[in-house]
Amino acid sequence: MGRLVAERLTAAEEAIRIKMEVQGLSVHYGNTPALSNVNLAVKANHVTALIGPSGCGKTTFLRTLNRMNDLIEGVRVTGRVLLDGEDIYRPGTDVVALRKRVGMVFQRPNPFPMSIYDNVAFGPRIHGLRDRRRLNEIVEKALRDAALWDEVKDRLRSSALGLSGGQQQRLCIARLLAVEPEVVLMDEPTSALDPISMLKIEELIQDLKATYTIVIVTHNMQQAARVSDSTAFFLSGELVEYGPTDVIFTRPRDRRTEDYITGRFG
């Protein structure tokens, strides 16, 4: 009896640990297929890296996870994407609420042309928070969590556009953390940054993993190896291989994965 309960608990824990599950996902832009029949489970509090050559569909995949693809004209999505077991493509899904739960950091830092404070306060404000004290707390916490507080605490009122590229990207992460998402999607978040800023963001990702589930697209093999727990390799719109990062990088099952990782690839 006791063993049965224990087993059930483990099963329940296993179930909880899957944060997002993608089943038979295909995406077309007009008549051009971008993804075909992708199956992938994103684990909670894991960093999942998506790697692959340009045009392999990894960014498309990332953008289906919070339906940012909806903004593109003529996009067609089939299959299921489950967030905590609920299909986010089910008709009647509240896309606005979905994006609050599954947030996104973009390739190029894109702070709003506002003050640092207002950038971070933007999310809480659009979700209806008016209380100044509470806003101040949230802004400070988000900036601390994004490892930016010490650098900007004396100039919260100055424009975010005056920050360096790396600071801007951490600001964008802070802006996202302020809405307390559950999943953080990152689309090559360091590709426009210098190496030091890149390392800062990578450290940050490690810290954030305790609270958030992270999916990151990267062109940088070392980065994928450094920051991620699981790695998915995409090629020509197909998921070639998906598994623990150390396995993918040391003992890949598929020849194409090995070729790509070792740089023997187009």
Partner: protein, 287 residues
């Protein structure tokens, strides 16, 4: 010809083109102010016009100029800006969008004299408003409308998609994104457009001759929109063409200088506050 020579030649050509433009503007301004500035006095700027004797002012015309402009913007801004937002943010490619765009372009290419006659037929006669400020403002709004649509659409399109994506990815609705990110960022571009529209409207005469009329109220200032309201630009034409006053040339010179000043002051008047407004919209609250 080697590439360095070609490079220098190209630079010289564009520099010359810019110099010609500046030269033309300077010539006009000097000419207008040389003759007009001595006329500008408080008595002229605020005085009432006379029909037969010398020494009349243009106070009512100056007032009407602004009154008609403000009224016309009141009519055209909501529709023009609304349609511009629709085209930039909501419209999907298709027959409806094409129709809206075609209508805007057609309206923009209508000669102002045609709009004036249209205003005379529809507002002055058919709706029975008579020659009045309201009819003039309504006809002028038709002139402003297509420009406002285009200016708004272009100002919004100039805002990077990344701002919109960032906002939507934070769980903002489309309207929140437009209202809090896109419009404030586009404000200066839109204000530049409104200045252009206003400048054109301030100098417009053909439309107003047939709608707002050639006479002014005997009271000054008269806020009644149903009385005739000659504007400065129309007055400029009128004194030169039809007036009986002996000092018509003097009045025309003064009116011209005043008109240029008015356009300048108006642009400053909406340019500076809009910068402050933008700062407040983008950086508002939460201190």
């Amino acid at each position: 010809m080697n590439k360095y020579l070609a490079d220098r030649l190209a630079t010289a050509c564009f520099w010359a083109a810019a110099a010609v433009i500046t030269g033309i503007l300077l010539f006009f301004l000097t000419h207008i102010f040389w003759r007009g500035a001595p006329v500008l006095s408080l008595a002229f700027v605020l005085g009432t016009p006379r029909e037969m004797t010398a020494g009349g002012g243009v106070g009512p015309q100056l007032f009407n100029t602004f009154y008609i402009l403000v009224l016309s913007l009141l009519f055209s801004l909501p529709i023009g800006v609304g349609a511009g937002i629709y085209l930039a943010e909501y419209a999907r490619p298709g027959p409806l969008t094409n129709l809206i765009r075609l209508s805007t372009e057609c309206l923009a290419s209508v000669p102002s004299i045609v709009l004036g006659l249209f205003g005379a037929v529809v507002f002055v006669w058919y709706l029975g408003l008579g020659f009045c400020i309201l009819a003039g403002a309504a006809a002028l709004a038709l002139l402003n409308l297509p420009v406002l649509v285009r200016v708004t659409e272009e100002a919004l399109r100039a805002i990077p998609v990344s701002y919109r994506e960032a906002s939507l990815a934070l769980g903002a609705t489309k309207w929140q994104t437009i209202r809090r990110v896109v419009l404030p960022s586009a404000l200066l571009g839109m204000v530049t457009g409104v200045s252009l529209v206003a400048g054109r409207a301030l100098g417009e005469s053909a439309i107003l001759i047939y709608t707002a009329g050639l006479s002014v109220s005997r009271y000054f200032p008269d806020f009644d929109p149903f009385v005739a309201g000659e504007t400065l630009a129309v007055h400029l034409w009128y004194v030169n063409a039809q007036s009986l006053v002996p000092d018509a040339t003097r009045i025309a010179d003064g009116s011209a200088a005043l008109l240029v000043l008015v356009v300048l002051v108006f642009n400053l008047c909406i340019g500076i506050p809009s910068r402050i407004l933008q700062r407040r919209l983008l950086g508002g609250g939460g201190k």
